[in-house]
Amino acid sequence: METEFTPFLSLAGGMLIGASAVLLMATDGRIAGISGLASKLIGRDTDRDARSVAGMFILGLLLSAPLWLLFSGEWPDQFVADNILLMATAGFLVGFGAVYGNGCTSGHGVCGIARGSARSIIATASFMGAAILTVFVTRHVFGGVG
């Protein structure tokens, strides 16, 4: 399915994401890496301070779509595949891989690159490459999955 090219909305949304990351660093001194924050929230031995900040940030994420609904009158537009095996495998790989690799698109791709971190630049290039290859194989070799 095609989606609309939305350079201005995407740029604006990206700038909000950036503003959020700067806000979190300015107030609490933490990287707005979602996998890291989620990991602290459900991890066994996190200090209470880290856990409460992570929990509140994630609560904010969970509230954003309902707020969008409240102010726009509709849920955000999205299409999500419903193949159970596909989404379960995808979920596990995303969760495990992000924590094992110390970051995801927000941690490495936004915050890490913004800091000029070589680790993050390499991680981002790696996951981008892997993701692009995966989509190529699923869509153009196998003709689509899910």
């Binding site: 399915m1 909305l9 969008w68 999205q78 495998t89 995808a90 913004a114």
Partner: protein, 146 residues
Amino acid sequence: MKQACALIAGVIFGLGLILSGMANPAKVLNFLDIVGTWDSSLAFVMGGAVLVTAPGFALLRRMRDKPIFAETFQFPTKSDIDPKLLIGAVMFGVGWGLGGFCPGPALTSVPIAAFGTLVFVPCMLGGIWIARNAPELSKPSLRHLG
């Protein structure tokens, strides 16, 4: 106060994800489908985010020696490119390319309650938990293979 700021930061982040289209797996997958129904919008998301975060972080470090409500700026200190980084990034990338979700958008999408999201997120949390808590995973070594 620290927690309130984290909550606000989370809401802003989530709204940014929604506005930018990042919360729509179809749009993300099209960004990764460079030979197919390519939608380059998400390049503007990362671009917009880094555009704000890069100078934002730099200014913060220059203007302040500590965050407003915490003791230190917790910028990551690792600099080596280790196997974990690459393995994790590739696993994450494959999962991202399969499901079109990374952690932030997945959590943001929970209230919308698409079936695929409700499968993805628990599996993602499971993957996060295992990567975080399984002690033998923190030091990969060939000894474990026998």
